[in-house]
Amino acid sequence: MNEPLPLHGLTVLEFSQYLSGPSAGLRLADLGARVIKIERPGTGDACRRLSIKNLWVDGDSLLFHTINRNKESFTANLKSADDMSTIRKLITRADVLTHNFRPGVMEAAGLGYADVQRLNPRLVYGAISGYGKEGPWKDLPGQDLLLQSMSGLAYTTGNEKDHPMPFGLSIADSLCGAQLVQGILAALVRRGKTGQGALVEISMLETLLDFQFEFLTTYHSSGQLPRRSRYNNGNPLLSAPYGIYATADGHIAIAMVNIPQLARATGSAELAIYDQDQAFSHRDEIKATLAQHLAAQPTSYWLERLHAEDMWAMEVLDWKKLTAHQGYKILEMEQAITTARGKSLVTTRCPIRIDGRRLFSGKPAPSLGQDNERIVMELLK
């Protein structure tokens, strides 16, 4: 059990704020890297002040604690010559740097890739932007909901007659951070062979376009916009019955299944008139018919019949039912963390298992500048 984590020995300097860049840092930390947040004195990562449901821990938002556990904090004013000299020393010893400033900001601070490469040619430099470095959108705010709205993604969720509907989570931020991690790690693999660093860049817009690659390839091929189904839309690309349906006591999700088989398993004469090759052409009709039929009995009644025929269906849970379920508990996805001031909080762990081992880390998010003294001492060695 004492095998080193995969990224053991690597040092990451995180100039990132909010979610996209810091979520990348969190993953690198959980995989074994030492992640040092470089923060502005006095205020730090703006996420420290951004709370949801007004939840605060040790003076910072719970949100900040969630995204920044397992990291260190070093404050530096990038406009001060003294602080910049320390930053440069840190860079010479680091393996990875990340930032998510708007294009030009790091360059103006003297920390563009060209500057940093001169200090440390082995450094892997990861940069996140909203819309890339050129074009009319480059200076626009790279904000998740706005990116969802501009990328066409809002036309994938909800039913046909609904407004365009965003995903209720920050998909652009989360996925962009995750994609950056891939680029950084692949660059570290190359560095292991050649000694050379790399510039790894990704924008939130490119992330969301990549995310919709199945839709966009289909669109380029057909010229048709994706059409959400009129009822119970699950995925505009997929035929009936793909979606979530109300039952007498809850909801059931039904994925790709054969229509005549579904009609038999659910005992629906109305559904039995449709052939499998009508699953697209009569999608709305089939879904409406099924919806009406499923509303008559409880979820367990339907699941028993569908599972008896190995059909792809599951009940729909909320977090209360989910977290009470044995299937959830056995994952051991939760971990307790004790903060510097002794406050305890519960969060999720890294979702990747290495060598059969779940990756827990009890190290809390840092208070602003808590590691300055120690890091300066290390640099003097």
């Binding site: 095998e3 990224l7 995989l31 449901k53 939840l55 949100l63 969630t66 995204i67 819309y131 074009g135 009319p136 705010p141 909901l145 706005l146 501009m150 066409g152 809002a154 036309y155 994938t156 969720t157 965003p166 995903f167 209720g168 989570l169 995750a178 994609q179 692949a186 660059a187 693999v189 190359r190 292991g192 062979k193 050649t194 510039l199 990704i202 924008s203 490119e206 199945e214 966009l216 390839t217 380029h220 091929s221 994706p226 059409r227 699950g234 690309l237 979606g243 979530i244 909801h251 999700a253 994925a255 792809w312 909320d318 056995i330 994952l331 909080l345 979702p351 990747i352 298992r353 290495i354």
Partner: protein
């Protein structure tokens, strides 16, 4: 040199989760060899979407499997299995997304593969992990969304649980698997160690919800409450959401309500001077905004809001998006060719390395297209 040059990936996976990991590895320079069942291959070849087919195969198969090779082998045939084992001697990565126990029965589980190739990086995606009551259930995107609580985050308060309309769980699981594989390849470069990397779709979608789940774990386990009007995120105050205008839709991210009231000339909103009310009374605020925004077009509102640095955007579908310079400068489209001359327009890898985009024009392989080449190159027959 490409980041993953000379890395060989032997990929047994099907559908989307595993193959999307293979795609990203291929994009970054790895050679990805799909091992497919003779006659049928990856079931995704037959998964038609929106009635759009390319050469009798689904568009999504072509999107997911470009830039890969195909080796047809029947794993139940001793001779074929022997060839695959010989191939694994040359592999750096093995990847699969079979249900738990399948690779053990074939004799290609991690322990067995390690005997063939002691420093292998072995990646697997499951639906729900390898134990517990869900382990043998189908790991399908919509079903995992439904179980995980995710469907209570999108759409408005009184709407049924609403799935995200893209296969988000598959894509996240594939992305996290790639992270784990690359971290393990980095470690192998340092220590020569093999690794087992496991990701389940359920753990991936729980991680995706890490911010809001952490809130749930620490707020007395309250359930999310979506806003009644234009829900964008159940945890974010007004005006966050998408609104209908006289022509087109407008999205508004976080913003100061009295400032918005003045810019939009909507006096009833000026009274919300206490920012706590933007969350506590968000339905009332959003309701007023929704009514008021109907009076002018999205473009008219944008011309007022954007110069005042309000976080807003016009909602676009693919037709709108692709007219924009901001889209065109990204150069996100990629034309690939299959060996039988078919040309397909798809999207490229979203990550740029050293300023360059990765844009291999190799299309998806025909089933078994590379058997001869691979047999000869590795002396398998």
């Amino acid at each position: 040199m490409n980041l993953l040059q000379d890395i060989i990936v032997v990929d047994f996976s099907q559908f989307l989760s595993g193959p999307s990991a293979g795609l990203r590895l291929a994009d970054m320079g790895a050679r990805v060899i799909k091992i497919e069942r003779p006659g049928i291959g990856d079931i995704c070849r037959q998964l038609y979407v929106s009635d759009t087919r390319i050469e009798g195969e689904s568009t999504i198969f072509h999107a997911i499997n470009r830039n890969k090779q195909s080796y047809a082998a029947d794993l139940k045939n001793a001779e074929d299995l022997e060839k695959v084992k010989k191939l694994i001697r040359h592999a750096d990565v093995v990847l699969h997304n079979f249900r738990p126990g399948v690779m053990e029965r074939i004799g290609l589980d991690y322990e067995k593969v390690k005997e063939i190739k002691p420093d292998i990086v072995y990646g697997e995606v499951s639906g729900y992990g390898t134990e517990g009551p869900w382990k043998d259930l189908p790991g399908q995107d919509l079903l995992v969304q439904g179980l995980s609580g995710l469907t209570w985050l999108s759409n408005n308060q009184n709407a049924r649980p609403t799935p995200m309309g893209v296969s988000v769980v598959d894509i996240l699981a594939g992305t996290y698997l790639t992270q784990g594989i690359l971290a393990a390849l980095y470690r192998r470069g340092v220590s020569g160690r093999s690794a087992l990397v496991q990701v389940s779709m359920m753990e991936a979608v729980l991680d995706f919800q890490f911010e809001v789940l952490t809130c749930h774990f620490n707020d007395g386990r309250q359930l999310p409450l979506r806003s009644q009007v234009s829900n964008g995120n159940a945890y974010i105050p007004a005006p966050y959401g998408i609104y209908k205008t006289r022509e087109g839709y407008l999205s508004l991210a976080m913003g100061d309500i009295p400032k918005l009231a003045r810019l939009l000339q909507c006096p009833p909103l000026e009274k919300y001077t206490n920012s706590a009310e933007w969350f506590d009374r968000r339905d009332e605020i959003k309701g007023m905004l929704a009514g008021h925004l109907l009076t002018q077009t999205a473009d008219e509102w944008l011309s007022v809001l954007q110069p005042a640095d309000i976080w807003c955007a016009k909602v676009m579908d693919y037709h709108d998006l692709m007219q924009q310079i901001g889209y065109k400068v990204l150069n996100m489209e990629l034309k690939v060719k299959t060996s039988n001359g078919l040309s397909i327009r798809t999207t490229r890898c979203p990550i740029r390395i050293d300023g360059a985009i990765a844009a291999s024009d190799r299309g998806a392989p025909l089933l078994g297209e590379h058997n001869q080449l691979i047999d000869a190159q590795f002396g398998l027959s």
